[in-house]
């Protein structure tokens, strides 16, 4: 069970209340027509599938509806860092 404190509404949320958004920091090429087909395909499909610290997007779906970024250990589900999209940080205070 993944439990994350939403950095916006400040509630501890169980994964059933959250929506997983996949890997974070996937940069959309700008402008898209400036990149090769290979680069565009990599943007679309290639993910790191990290074992360990993984940067990912989550949404407080059943709560405030805000998206945020999390650094999570994909082995232990330990949450190391929670980041807002506006760049402000918050660290999990519980563990």
């Amino acid at each position: 069970m993944i439990v994350i404190r939403c950095p916006y509404c400040d509630e501890l949320r169980h994964e059933e209340e959250l929506e997983y958004g996949g890997e974070a920091e996937i940069v959309r090429p700008a402008p898209p027509e400036s990149v090769s087909d290979e680069e565009w395909a990599a943007y679309l499909y290639m993910r790191t599938n990290t074992k360990g610290h993984h940067h990912e997007q989550w949404c407080c779906r059943a709560g405030c509806g805000q998206w945020f970024k999390v650094v999570r250990d994909t082995v232990s589900h330990e949450v190391h860092e929670i980041l807002r999209f506006d760049g402000t940080f918050s660290h999990p205070t519980e563990e």
Binding site: D37, W40, F85
Partner: protein
């Protein structure tokens, strides 16, 4: 030989209420028990000793344990709330009217034909079935072999009531024995939220059966006192009747709490409901204690042979003696402690058979002082009695003359097994401690503490100390500050760990049971080793050791020890098998919860739902409850749908489109924002105008279609399809937040704020005029694809002139609460114009005639705008939009794209899913080149029409194709998808 004895009721028993007798039945026979009894204790009190037959050899089997560790006592139970075909009697709480049956044994437990299998026992070694029934296939024999085996019979059951609760706590204490209670005491006043869970109906654990005093009173009384303190404190939740069934990453737990209603006075009771907790804890205190291990010897499966702790529990918790004369077979001091408590309850202990040569401990001294006969350095080498134990044969360990000793119960105490399953759920690999003869946790998961017996051989004094220490650590870590507490004054006999004795070496290994449920004997393990199955996981699968419903609680460790002995390894090197959740069986109804039937997905009703009922609607679930057709329009579906289509084509029809998505997008950057989603140019959309377009995912595939209305500068209304309304709103929101936070734009999903009713047909304008909207309705003033706001009867309304049917059509939206009134008014005013209500089926057929696509039906996970004929629009749009770049990848330009086209059949019937056969195909199976996505009979054309995705379809107009569908082949001609009014004269009227 002594007469066969049966169990009976004693005085005492701290869990039962003698003022509340309960009537129940066992195999049809009426019996009496008390509130608080388990089915096991009540059966023993009624003298029932034989509970079933073993799985393979059909040997008589009796009650062996007191709770979920019992491998034998499987019963089918019917109570006031349901029926279950296979439960352990020790886990069934007695209730008035309970009806229990044995589940093994045919035709009856007392006379079992399968017991003849005993005669053939020596032929049925491990792997017997695999080896014997290999030819020609196992499947040939399986049905015949399965028939006489298995537990109970299934019948359709009504799920028990269940609920689920999610919670988060600071400390979860698992186990309410002395260690768990002490830990909870130490956390009082710490300002931490504590959950204390225990399987039993009240706290106390081993205190309920052992002769321990705390602060000068019996330990069980002290436990009840502490429970009252906890229940009065806000910060501690005491969950009794609760099993922690699983531990998962991040210290997340599932707990199953049972709510028993004992009934009484003729009112039947039972397991009323269950609650599945999903609990997250910062700190965990594992205080689960330990379980008695049996000893292995010849004929150790005879009814009457049971775990020493079980005998202690029956006497202490339920005031039930399993028999009058008890023998005790032990390799440690706890057998002596059990003997003392039995003596105190007035039972006769005929002998303590202690494998140790010269045992010395306070317990041993006490039994000697009490005059109980002890045979040291001795072992049990055999038992007698058929359906119940009558005597045991005892001989010196290592050989010598055997002596026969009478007893009707033999209590086995072969050491303790710490209950560390929950830690192993999190990947902890137990290690063997040769000193205590136990598998223990070498480390604990983050945030965990293990206290008392769960941590390895312990004592009441150590358990109290552990509990206090752990609570102090947690208080310090959380900054709760120290807590001064009077350490309870304990009086208990200290004891030492067990001696290394696992099984007798005298006797026939084929009659020494290791796993009583699955009939696995020492001989089976020997055979497995001879055949090379020396890994513990292989042994388990080959012999089925520990694979029964009891999960091998009493057999696993003995099996490992015997395997280690046979292979000359240390027990620690053999290792254990892996435990996985759940700790004990969990009913599917508790997991499924109320997410079934209507509650699986709540039904959504449109604002004018009642108006449709009045109109005779036949509802279907399309995510919303929507009229599929109306009884008022025809006796059967086809007749009604035809009439509804005729009304729209000839006069006017009313269709409730309230579920159609409505998302308001506002702000100075609203146009820029939306332009990045739609394949059409949105920047040129003027206030009061509407544009149809599609949206793609980034991979270039169509995600949704719909109309976009420009209400005003910086104020748009997006109309995604009904099924995608929520998804599109989330999609907008995600891009806004994560990619384009600098854009000034707001997104408001308002679908259910509005009731939207479409009126379609040549007389739609006449009808709308009757509502006096105060808007010039002429085609020049209010043309197709435009939007107006007005007031209808004083209510703010939005009118969009769009068309899904190909006819003149207006979509009128009013605040949801006026939806019913709007439908009533339109139906009233429209009566003279020939209005009919129109359901989904007619509506979809009308759009099919017009060739409008339905996303999800006429598109699939590969369809691009080019495939549906919107390639030109995409090419004209210069600005970037989501998915655009992907349209220049190779796949998009392939000449094998499936393109959306029309099909019309001469005589044949077309149906969705029909496969377009390759032109050179002779017969199916063959290569196909696409499929029919939508099809129906068109009343306007007088034949079947359809839409289809066909390879290179647009370049194949006029070609006749053959379509394979459900075994038949029909012919149809490829044509334009627009079958009706191709010049759009009617919708522009």
């Amino acid at each position: 030989m002594a007469a066969r004895e049966t169990g009976f009721r004693l005085d005492g028993g701290c869990l039962i209420e003698r003022s509340k007798p309960l009537q129940f039945r066992f195999n049809g026979k009426p019996m009496l028990g008390f509130k608080g009894d388990t089915l096991s204790s009540a059966l023993l009190a009624n003298g029932v000793g034989l509970l079933g037959r073993s799985f393979k050899y059909h040997r008589p089997r009796g009650i062996y344990g007191a709770g979920l560790e019992d491998p034998n006592a499987m019963v089918a139970v019917r109570d006031a709330y349901g029926y279950e075909p296979a439960l352990r009697a020790g886990q069934v709480r007695l209730a008035e009217g309970l009806d229990a049956h044995t589940v093994t044994g045919w035709p009856s437990v007392d006379f079992d034909i399968g017991a003849l299998a005993q005669l053939g026992m020596r032929f049925m070694k491990a792997g017997f079935y695999y080896k014997t029934f290999m030819w020609p296939t196992w499947g040939l024999y399986e049905p015949y072999i399965r028939k006489p085996t298995g537990f109970g019979s299934a019948e359709p059951v009504k799920p028990r009531h269940s609920e689920q609760r999610h919670d988060i706590c600071d400390v979860l204490i698992i186990g309410g024995g002395v260690a768990g209670i002490t830990a909870a005491c130490g956390l009082l006043g710490a300002g931490l939220k504590v959950v204390l869970a225990d399987e039993q109906p009240r706290l106390g654990g081993a205190l309920m059966r052992e002769g321990v005093t705390i602060n000068g009173r019996p330990g069980a009384e002290w436990a009840v006192e502490q429970q009252a303190v906890f229940e009065a404190a806000d910060e501690i939740d005491v969950l009794t009747d609760t099993v922690v069934t699983g531990a998962y990453e991040g210290n997340f737990f599932t707990l199953l709490q049972s709510d028993h209603d004992a009934g009484g006075a003729g009112q039947a009771g039972g397991l009323r409901s269950e609650r599945l907790w999903k609990l997250h804890a910062r700190y965990v205190v594992l205080a689960t204690g330990s379980l008695d291990r049996p000893l292995v010897f010849e004929d150790n499966d005879r009814p009457g042979v049971m775990l020493s702790s079980a005998v202690g529990r029956f006497v202490g918790e339920y005031g039930v003696a399993p028999g009058r004369t008890v023998g005790i077979f032990t390799n440690n001091d706890s057998g002596h402690l059990t003997a003392l408590s039995l003596l105190q309850a007035g039972l006769h202990v005929s002998a303590i058979i202690d494998t140790r040569l010269a045992p010395e401990s306070p317990g041993v001294e006490a039994t000697a002082a009490a005059g109980i006969r002890r045979l040291s350095g001795a072992e049990v080498v055999g038992t007698s009695g058929y359906k119940g134990l009558r005597s045991i044969d005892v001989a010196p360990v290592g050989g010598g003359a055997a002596e026969r000793i009478d007893c009707s119960v033999l209590a086995l105490s072969g050491g303790r097994t710490p209950l560390i399953h929950l830690a192993t759920h999190l990947g902890v690999k137990p290690v063997f401690n040769p000193e205590s003869g136990e598998f223990i946790c070498p480390y604990v998961p983050d945030g965990w503490h293990i206290v008392g017996d769960a941590g390895g051989f312990s004592s009441f004094a150590k358990a109290i100390n552990d509990g206090l220490e752990v609570s102090a650590v947690i208080r310090t870590t959380t900054g709760a500050g120290p807590f001064s507490w009077d350490v309870p004054k304990l009086s208990a006999l200290e004891s030492a760990p067990s001696a290394a004795f696992w099984k007798s070496n005298a006797g026939n290994p084929a009659r020494m049971w290791v796993d009583l449920q699955n009939d696995v004997t020492v001989a089976d393990i020997e055979l497995a080793v001879r055949e090379g199955y020396v890994s513990v996981e292989h042994l388990k699968r080959y012999t089925t050791l520990g694979m029964g419903t009891d999960q091998g609680r009493t057999s696993n460790i003995n099996g490992l020890a015997i395997l280690a002995g046979l292979t000359g390894r240390d027990i620690g090197d053999v290792g254990t098998t892996t435990f996985r959740p759940p700790y004990t069986a969990v009913r599917l109804s508790a997991i499924a919860h109320i997410r079934q039937n209507d509650i699986y997905r709540p039904r959504r009703r449109m604002p004018a739902h009642d108006a449709h009922i009045a109109g005779g609607a036949v509802f279907e679930d399309f995510g919303w409850q929507r009229p599929d057709w109306y009884h008022a329009n025809g006796a059967d579906r086809e007749t009604a749908v035809a009439a509804e289509m005729v009304a729209v084509r000839g006069a006017v029809g009313l269709f409730d489109g309230s579920p159609l998505g409505k998302i308001e997008v506002t702000g100075p950057d609203a146009a820029t924002f939306l332009d990045r989603f739609y394949v059409s140019n949105i920047m040129t959309l003027k206030p009061g105008r509407i544009r149809y377009s599609v949206m793609l995912k980034e991979d270039g595939v169509i995600f949704d279609d719909g109309v976009l209305t420009c209400i005003d500068e910086g104020y748009y209304l997006a109309g995604p399809s009904s099924g995608n309304a929520e998804m599109v709103a989330s999609w907008f929101e995600r891009w806004r937040q994560t990619e384009w936070p600098a854009l000034e734009v707001g997104i408001a999903p308002v679908t259910s704020n509005w009731a939207s009713v479409a009126i379609a047909g040549p007389r739609a304008r006449e009808l709308l005029a009757k509502l006096n909207p105060g808007v010039d309705l002429s085609s020049t003033a209010f043309p197709h694809m435009s939007y107006r706001e007005c007031r209808l009867g004083g209510v703010a309304a939005r009118i969009s002139r769009v068309s899904f049917t190909g006819e003149l059509q207006y979509e009128i939206s009013v605040p949801a609460r006026y939806g019913h009134d709007l439908v009533d008014q339109l139906m009233g005013e429209g009566e003279a114009l020939g209005i009919q209500m129109v359901g989904m089926e007619a509506w979809l057929r009308l759009r099919l005639e017009k060739g409008y696509l339905h996303v999800g039906s006429d598109t699939n996970g590969r369809t691009t705008p080019g495939d549906i004929g919107m390639g030109g629009i995409v090419e004209r749009k210069i600005a970037d939009f989501i998915g655009k770049r992907s349209l220049s990848l190779a796949f998009s330009g392939s000449d094998e794209r499936e393109e959306l086209v029309g099909l019309h059949a001469g005589q044949g019937r077309l149906a969705p899913g029909g496969r377009i056969m390759a032109p050179d195909a002779v017969s199916a199976p063959c290569v196909t080149e696409g499929y029919i996505t939508s099809a129906c009979y068109s009343p306007s054309l007088g034949k079947d029409i359809g839409l289809a995705l066909i390879e290179r379809g647009r370049s194949r107009m006029g070609e006749t194709v053959r379509i394979y569908d459900n075994g038949g082949v029909v012919e149809a001609e490829i044509c334009s998808p627009v079958f009706y009014d191709p010049d759009n004269e009617r919708l522009r009227a």
